[in-house]
Each structure stands twice: as C-alpha cells, then as structure tokens.
Point group: C2
Chain length 140, copies 2
C-alpha cells in the first residue's frame, strides 16, 4: 500500500448546506450526483450524505454524537491567516471549540467544528514547511 | 482559506499498536513524543492518542462507538492492488466491512476499519487519474 491518501470523505446531513459552508471559506467544488468534490492539492475532499457513506461501507452508524476520532488540519502561512480563517469559519456557522492560542510547540492554533461536527485545526507551525503549491513537508 | 488539507490526525487508543498496523501495510513513519507522523504525498497522516487529540481541540468525546462520519480512501492502480491491500489489512488486524466488489461507477472497491475503527475505502476507479507521485486528479 503506497503511503498516501486519495480522498477524504466527510459524511454530512445536508450536502447543500455543507457545500455552502465550504464555499464561504473560499472552496470551489463540483457537484456530481449529490456529492461535492473539491480538488485539494493531490487529493480530493468529498462531501457526501452521511447515511450514504455508512451504507456504502456497510458501516454501523450510531449517528453523530460529537467527536468522531479524526481531525483535519489546515496549516496556514501566518498567525494572521489563522485568525482570518477562524473568523470566516465562525461567520459561516462553525463552532469554535478552541480559540487561537499559542501551542506547546511554538505555534499558534485554533480548532473548529463544521456544520456536521467535523473537526478542523487551523494552525501556524513554523517548523512545518508549506510549499507554494500548498503541500506540507514534515520536518523529520 | 486555501483549498487544501495539511494533516489528517487519527485518534487512536494505542499509538504503538496503531503504528504497527500501518507498518504492516508498508507505511514508514517517524515517532515524536508519542505521536507518529507519516509523510503521505503533500500532507501528513498522524497517529495520536484519541484522548490527547480530543483534549487539544477542547472536543467532547463520548468515546468511539463506531463510524465517526469520515472515510479515507486510497485509490489503487489496479483491481489486483485493491485485493492485495485488503488482504494485507486483514492480516494486520483490520475488520473488512465490505469485501471488494464492483461499484456503480464502474470501479472496484472494498472498505475496512483499522484497529481504532477509522474507515478506509480501497478502490480502483478508472475515471480518477493517479499520477506517478501518487497524487489524485479529479476528472471534473
């Protein structure tokens, strides 16, 4: 198995509302059969009905009850960009679970959950390099 | 907010066991302070204690109760590769929730959950291009 991820699918209650949320953050996607695809660097981020995703994977779904054990992170290029993204997310309906603050590793990070409880960390981490194309290179 | 993901963090109960699971699939990571980082194309996949992740994000965690609303997909280069990855995952302790089968879009896909219930779809989708470097380009 090559060491890579091709798609991240976020199960959502309302595809149109979820698409609108990400559009408010500046994301442009294409909708195909009630599924929204965003090209995000070398992978796709997908919004799909949570019930459909669970059914497709033959997964027992007890329903969203909060944290699902996964967090996505978006590493910004500056602290100011962290603040701007968090403000935009809050305006779009996100729940800010942790306001931006200094981190133990010398960075600056906030967390929010989207309309469906999916977790995003927005961070500025000076030790992680972000290339012009947005790709992140781990320092080790 | 640029349209990209920097990190995918999977909350796990036992970092060493989770690392061993991904090692059995051929993934090589670096461990830093009980956190395992895998470079996966232009982003990082991270294994971190679920409780630590929840605490870091100030997230209420009712505990893992199955499907968390997120699925990662790994698009393989052939049907044979799908079968090989699923077999390796099963041998490493994954739960196969859907054995590989033809999909409605003319592909071939299986689903498994890792030791902590994180969902992976392993798919061959002839309409999604996988570059030599592993990046996926959506067709629309």
């Amino acid at each position: 198995m090559e060491q890579r991820v091709s798609l991240i699918t976020l199960g959502v209650a309302d595809v149109a509302a979820a698409r609108e949320f990400y559009a408010a953050l500046g994301w442009h996607g294409r909708e195909v059969e009630e599924t929204v695809f965003f090209q995000a660097g070398g992978l796709g981020v997908v919004l799909w009905g949570r019930e459909k995703l669970a059914a497709d994977g033959r997964l027992e779904d007890a329903g969203a009850d909060g944290f699902g054990g996964v967090a996505l992170a978006h590493n910004a290029r500056s602290r100011e960009e962290v603040d701007a993204i968090v403000a935009a997310a809050e305006a779009a309906g996100a729940t800010i679970t942790k306001a931006a603050e200094e981190t133990f590793y010398g960075g600056y990070a906030a967390y929010f959950t989207d309309l469906d409880g999916h977790v995003w960390e927005i961070a500025h981490n000076p030790s992680f390099t972000i290339a012009d194309d947005g790709s992140l290179q781990l320092p080790f």
